[in-house]
């Protein structure tokens, strides 16, 4: 076995804090933390506790005095992170935003090139890194042709080629399907066994990492450290578990409580498909064929299946946003109400009153500069309701989704959970009969998750229809386990309609 890591890194934070330029509040403050070389640390904390800020600081990419104010000190092996270029390797949450180059081999080599490693040595490192993460593809494979799990393993290989003594993972599996989560976790375990590098990983879903790490550190919401110890100590004690769960952490063996319940029987049909085949673009390949489906009032459906099977494309077609490639999507009289039977031909204003779609990336759907305008955009500007009629509804939504204190904020400045809540609220503002959601729980903490599920249950028991593309088995179960399983070449329905 080749140990190709140089020595693992020690981390020392003394009274460290960081305030981003233009913010009044410190993102992290009063942090005292010692991490021994080779330790494997899971870093937890509520949204906004500064976990990502700490990782960015350790990676040396927080920037200089223009970009924020630092207090105390944060050192890698006794030196500033910026002076330890290449000693820390950072993998981020979004698989797509960290790919630099077009080919797998070049991508892995990039970091080593920047560290001025000699050419022959670079290629040795590239092969070893790809081997370690188990990414068995040709070096000239296009980086955009990889799946989410493969892209995250590529990102891991790319930092491994720099031979870092400190591995920093910022929610590396939050956007992956269950298969991808296991792929990436196992790759990290293999790498750590081989290199003995220090690990700091941030992740809401604790159970993925609980058996891999030997220490759990919980950051307090107002600075400092809430808890610090072995996984058994921190996660085993009841009071600690409760406080972690309250902060939105997914504590193993615990499920968030969800309000509301689902109606026993579905209502009248709203939308049906016959022999439906879907494709992402007008001339693109058919990704899914032969879908016969009925969506009824007061029901929920979860579309599940592996990545690339066409789940999102099907959802967008059901939502009237894409034209069916073959077959039909038919809106029943109860839904169409004079707009015609083909949802793909509805005008925007007709669509928002009938079918709402929440995209995976909330930012794609933000249209205005304040949360209040965003909530009122649909009823005020699209369907042109009188203010007296929509005001109670939007106020109620703002209240239920805890957006009231954010009404004057810019949607783009919200946290991930807040953005998700807003994007759902904007869709509900025009009271559609059907709500389609694409991966609504990706990367959400447990508190946001429970709110979302409670809200969707409320919609269903109020007579609405909820269709979700999801990999989240807990979510599917909480919404009644009616499943459309999409696999290459076919669909299987399970559960009672």
């Amino acid at each position: 076995m080749i140990r190709y890591s140089t020595d693992p890194v020690a981390v020392t934070a003394s009274n460290w804090g960081w305030r981003h330029a233009g913010r009044s509040r410190f993102a992290v403050r009063k942090l005292d933390l010692d991490i021994q070389p080779g330790e494997r640390v899971l870093l937890l904390g509520a949204s906004g506790a500064g976990k990502s800020t700490l990782l960015a600081a350790l990676a040396g990419v927080l920037g200089n005095d223009d970009e924020g104010e630092q207090e105390g000190s944060l050192l890698l092996d006794g030196g500033s992170p910026a002076s330890r270029r290449g000693r820390a390797g950072l993998v981020l949450q979004d698989p797509d935003s960290q790919v630099v180059l077009a080919r797998v081999g070049d991508e892995v080599a990039f970091g080593a090139e920047n560290l001025a490693v000699p050419r022959a040595e670079i290629w040795k490192r590239v092969h070893r890194a790809l081997d370690d993460v188990g990414l068995d593809v040709p070096l000239d494979r296009s980086t955009s042709a990889l799946s989410g799990g493969q892209k995250q393993r590529l990102a891991l290989a790319s930092v491994l080629a720099m031979q870092p003594g400190l591995l920093l993972l910022d929610e590396p599996t939050a956007n992956l399907d269950p298969q991808g989560v296991i792929e990436v976790r196992d790759a990290v375990v293999r790498v750590l066994e081989r290199t003995a590098a220090t690990l700091v990983v941030v992740e809401h879903r604790v159970e993925v990492w609980a058996n891999v790490v030997d220490r759990v550190v919980v950051l307090g919401p107002d600075g400092g450290i809430l808890a610090d110890g072995t996984p058994a100590e921190v996660l085993g004690e009841e009071a600690a578990r409760r406080s972690l769960a309250g902060a939105g952490v997914w504590v193993p063996g615990w499920k968030p409580e969800v309000e509301g319940h689902l109606p026993g029987t579905a209502g009248d049909p709203l939308l049906s498909t016959r022999g439906l085949a879907v494709a992402r673009t007008r001339r693109g390949a058919e990704v899914l064929t032969g879908v016969d489906l009925e969506l009824s009032a007061a029901s929920a459906l979860s579309i599940v299946g592996p990545n690339g099977a066409g789940k999102s494309t099907l959802a967008l077609t059901l939502a009237g946003l894409l034209k069916p490639r073959r077959g039909r999507v038919t809106a029943e009289a109860l839904l169409e109400c004079g707009a015609g039977a083909d949802p793909a031909r509805w005008r925007s204003a007709e669509l928002v009153q009938r079918i709402g779609t929440v995209f995976q990336e909330p930012e794609h759907q933000f249209l205005t500069s304040t949360v209040a305008d965003e909530l009122e955009f649909g009823p005020r500007r699209v369907t042109r309701e009188p203010e007296s009629s929509f005001r109670p509804r939007t106020s109620d939504l703002a209240e239920r989704l805890r957006l009231v204190h954010l009404l004057t904020a810019n949607p783009f400045t919200l946290s991930g959970g807040e953005k998700r809540r807003l994007s759902v609220a904007t869709m509900l503002a025009t009271s559609p009969d059907i709500l389609v959601l694409d991966e609504p729980t990706f990367g959400q903490d447990a508190v946001t998750w429970a709110e979302l599920v409670g809200l969707l249950r409320g919609l269903v028991s109020g007579g609405g229809c909820v269709v979700s593309v999801t990999h989240d088995a807990d979510f599917t179960e909480a919404l009644g386990n009616r499943i459309l399983d999409v696999r290459a070449g076919g669909v299987v329905q399970r559960g009672t309609p």
Partner: protein, 266 residues
């Protein structure tokens, strides 16, 4: 227009694939340079003829070319027709129907414009289909010693441009779902288009910012850097450069001998 126009499509071992991007760039620049300097049909026709004759040797099939570049052919035809219709009417009248008047002079000008457009476009297409942007960046930085921060920044940007096409489609669907679809009267449409364009810019900037952080985290920005792949010249490159020069010289000579050379600025 799809993003794959930016992706090299040639496979195998043709001359163009083996050549260094810089020699291809050199050949393309001299040929297009000469064709651009003169508005006449002889130089354009000679250059275009050689370009087409060389296609099998370069490993480019006519069918593949037409599939990718047919809009250019149509553009060239439209440009030729428009020029023939509007250019100075000299020489004998060839066709006169109502307001439509073609003369020998105007038709010759139209043909020259059409041929010139194609002769200018083909070298660029040959370069694009046969060159991986990464190889070009390697060559620019290692052989021409262009600043590597700039070259690699541009390379990362080129990749993001390809992704913008997809992003635009997603944004369109997402906005339609919000009630801001591409419909209604011209004013509403224009407003929605501008809104979507702004949304695309916002997304592009956010994406670029995240990418910059990812690059920095991988040590990008240091003064010293090595290159995993060495950019090399081979005898093929001498041939590519020489043939490029030859075509350029041949086109110019033929036009001068035929007396059709019309310098652009004269």
């Amino acid at each position: 227009m799809s993003s794959d126009l930016l992706t090299p499509s040639l496979a195998g071992n043709s001359v163009l694939i083996r050549a260094n991007p810089l020699s291809k760039l050199f050949a393309a620049v001299v040929i297009t340079g000469v064709v651009m300097l003169s508005i006449d049909w002889v130089s354009a026709a000679v250059a275009l003829t050689f370009e087409i004759l060389l296609m099998p040797l370069l490993g480019i099939s006519m069918r593949g070319l037409l599939l990718r570049a047919w809009p250019l052919l149509i553009a060239a035809l439209v440009a030729a027709y428009g020029t023939a219709l509007l250019a100075e009417k000299t020489g004998a009248v060839l066709l006169h129907v109502g307001p439509v008047l073609f003369t020998e002079g105007s038709v010759a000008a139209g043909i020259a414009i059409g041929l010139r457009g194609l002769a200018l476009a083909l070298p660029g297409i040959f370069l694009a289909v046969s060159t991986d942007p990464t190889d070009l960046a390697d060559a620019l930085a290692q052989k021409l010693h262009a600043p590597h921060r700039f070259v690699l920044g541009a390379l990362a940007a080129v990749r993001l441009v390809g992704l913008l096409v997809e992003q635009w489609q997603t944004l369109g669907l997402a906005r339609h779902a919000r009630g801001a679809g591409a419909e209604g009267n011209a004013l509403v449409r224009t407003r929605n288009f501008l809104g979507q364009a702004f949304g695309l810019i916002v997304q592009a900037i956010r994406r670029a910012t995240r990418l910059a952080v990812a690059m920095e985290a991988r040590g990008f920005g240091a003064a010293e850097r090595t290159w995993a792949r060495k950019s090399t010249f081979s005898p093929v490159d001498a041939w590519v450069a020489a043939v490029g020069l030859g075509i350029a010289a041949g086109a110019a000579t033929a036009a001068v001998l035929a007396g059709t050379w019309t310098f652009l600025l004269s």
